[in-house]
């Protein structure tokens, strides 16, 4: 009986808006506006002159303080490194790192779960363990190792990201592999498909939802990561967006807030577009990452 009653209530959109809920709607609308204000303030300040920004951060650009796109043009070459180059390296490292992590760790996780030897159990344990360890614990020895192995290029750092991102990825893929009935793979095996064919033909397509979740979580991490690339990359040749921004904001000479704010807008823009394009997947990714954790 209770089941039927709850079913009847299922179409949630039609729930009557009580007075309390109307108040809540207004409260949340106000909070939402306050929530986006910091980003919005930076957006309109990026069109103001430095004098205008210093005078009053909160006033809209007017005839005197309006600076057009001058900040954006200046920001492109501001500092000792071109912004677009930092943006390209950020894009390259994020795409490369995430692709490498997805391919390698999904294979590894499947092997770990299906062969299930003592050695694999130890590797799995270490992967989980690595998620809790703070970066500062391995920061120095990792950058030293990377230096010795000449991993200080954007190509080399992909390998480091594979190692450092393996923990979460193996954990999530393993959780999913455990839920796949082994009979499917055994049937493929009986039909003569080797492990490689079984993996790429059968297991990989089933894993697609987890693939997307891992991709989202690792993208969010690598794109915004500051300290790891800062310590590992050869700073004279390669910078990512966070490294470049921190350098501009640091106490190296005169800080040009107009130019920095223009760059802040430019670095947030792709993320916002990415967010609106795949919001559903991002939220699912966050939930499944957390529930398995």
């Amino acid at each position: 009986m209770a089941k039927i009653a709850s079913k009847a209530k299922e179409p949630k959109k039609t729930v009557k808006q009580t007075f309390g809920m109307k108040v809540l709607t207004i409260v949340f609308a106000v909070i939402s506006i306050i929530y986006v204000l910091p980003v919005f303030i930076v957006l309109y300040n990026s069109f103001k002159t430095n004098g205008g920004i210093a005078l009053n951060l909160f006033s809209f650009p007017d005839g005197e303080s309006f600076n057009g796109f001058a900040n954006y043009i200046k920001g492109m070459t501001f500092g000792n490194y071109p912004f677009w180059e930092a943006a390209l390296w950020s894009l390259f490292i994020t795409l490369g790192g995430v692709t490498l992590i997805l391919i390698c760790t999904s294979m590894a996780a499947w092997y770990i779960q299906r062969s299930n030897t003592l050695f694999c159990k130890i590797v799995y344990f270490f992967c989980i363990f690595s998620m809790v360890v703070p970066f500062q614990m391995v920061m120095f020895t990792l950058s030293d190792t990377a230096n010795k192995l000449k991993l200080t290029t954007p190509w080399g750092i992909l390998f480091v990201y594979l190692g450092f991102g393996a923990g979460l990825a193996i954990f999530m893929f393993s959780g999913f592999v455990k839920s796949i009935p082994i009979e499917i793979e055994e049937a493929a095996d009986v039909d003569g498909a080797g492990p490689l064919k079984t993996f790429f033909g059968i297991v990989l397509p089933i894993m697609k939802p987890t693939f997307i979740s891992v991709a989202i979580l690792e993208t969010m991490w690598i794109w915004n990561d500051y300290l790891l690339p800062y310590l590992i990359l050869d700073g004279k040749l390669y910078k990512t967006i966070p490294i470049h921004m921190q350098f501009l904001n640091g106490s190296y000479g005169q800080t040009d807030h107009g130019a920095i704010m223009a760059l802040v807008v430019l670095s947030i823009l792709p993320i916002v577009i990415f967010y609106f394009a795949c919001q559903k997947y991002i939220i699912e990714g966050v939930v499944s990452g957390a529930v398995k954790g």
């Binding site: 209770a2 809920m21 809540l24 709607t25 909070i31 929530y35 910091p38 980003v39 303030i41 009053n56 951060l57 390698c104 760790t105 294979m107 092997y111 299906r114 590797v123 690595s130 809790v132 360890v133 703070p134 970066f135 500062q136 614990m137 391995v138 920061m139 120095f140 020895t141 990792l142 030293d144 190792t145 990377a146 480091v160 990201y161 594979l162 190692g163 393996a166 193996i170 793979e185 055994e186 492990p195 490689l196 079984t198 969010m220 915004n224 500051y226 300290l227 966070p242 921004m245 921190q246 904001n249 704010m261 802040v264 670095s267 947030i268 916002v272 967010y275 966050v286 939930v287 529930v291």
Partner: protein, 288 residues
């Protein structure tokens, strides 16, 4: 799937790339980090064994101790605030108020922006606010720095935790509410006796995530205050991660052995506290 004769060959294909990277990127640096914490060194090939001397020095290092207490205070305040905020926002948004999806989108958005950029944005906002009240900058007052970090962290993380709590609320079976209503439970009783126990898994996860995130906070700390102000030779708003970083690469004579020992201590604190938290909140979880 993997039969004996060919198992090793397939291990090469499937496991080796990840394993090699994992050893280079994590296992080896981790073990070597513990090893080097017992040595005094500037560059690694000239290290001299000093026993637990580095650890003794770390515990006598006032900036390290200050950063520990600062971090602990920050963790306690931020974990409580973020989780309470996220829990009630999620609760309200599952009541089907108009525009829930828009609010959810807005609250989650700060998570996609990196810590360095968030720190910069909030630094400008805080300084702008203080300036309009004729007050000095955020970096001149450690209390302001502390609360600035708290506001920034809440603003960023509440949306992430909200998503997890919403999933938790949606996962509570509807029959439980119906049954409670039929038994005559009041609204507050339903919240404390039905919803809260059923939400314990989400609370476990969110507490764990906020706890470890707050402990490990680095980017936001660096970009918002950078540890300033400097009072009596101690950077008063430096958290542990930033303090260890500065011990390694920072100003003055760097003591890398001590920095590594502080790293090990930091790691032990994070592991012990997060395991303890998992143990205590897991015990309260119930089955439907």
């Amino acid at each position: 799937m993997f039969k004996k004769p060919k198992r090793k060959l397939y291990a090469l294909i499937f496991l080796l790339p990840t394993l090699a990277a994992f050893i280079v990127g994590f296992v080896y640096p981790f073990i070597r980090g513990i090893y080097l914490s017992f040595f005094k060194f500037q560059i690694v090939n000239k290290a001299t064994f000093v026993g637990i001397n580095n650890y003794i020095k770390a515990f006598k290092d006032e900036s390290f101790l200050r950063s520990f207490w600062f971090t602990l205070a920050f963790v306690v305040v931020s974990v409580i605030l973020i989780n309470v905020m996220a829990f009630f926002i999620a609760y309200a948004l599952t009541l089907n108020i108009r525009g829930s999806n828009v609010y959810r989108t807005v609250f989650f958005m700060p998570n996609l922006i990196g810590g360095i950029i968030l720190g910069y944005i909030w630094h400008q906002i805080f300084d702008g606010l203080l300036r309009s009240m004729d007050m000095p900058s955020l970096v001149t007052n450690s209390d302001l720095g502390f609360w600035g970090l708290i506001i920034l962290m809440c603003w960023q993380q509440a949306g992430y935790m909200m998503i997890i709590y919403i999933a938790g609320f949606q996962g509570v079976p509807h029959d439980l509410y119906e049954a409670a209503k039929i038994d005559g439970a009041k609204k507050t009783q339903i919240l404390t006796k039905v919803t809260l126990p059923m939400m314990m898994p989400s609370i476990t996860i969110c507490t764990f995530l906020t706890l470890t995130n707050s402990f490990k906070l680095f980017d936001q700390n660096l970009a918002l205050t950078g540890g300033a102000p400097l009072t009596d030779g101690i950077w008063t708003t430096r958290m542990m991660a930033l303090n260890i970083y500065k011990t390694f690469y920072g100003e003055g004579i760097s003591a890398k052995g001590v920095g590594q020992a502080e790293g090990v201590i930091f790691f032990l604190i994070v592991v012990v506290i997060s395991l303890a938290q998992l143990y205590f909140t897991r015990r309260r979880e119930v089955q439907a």
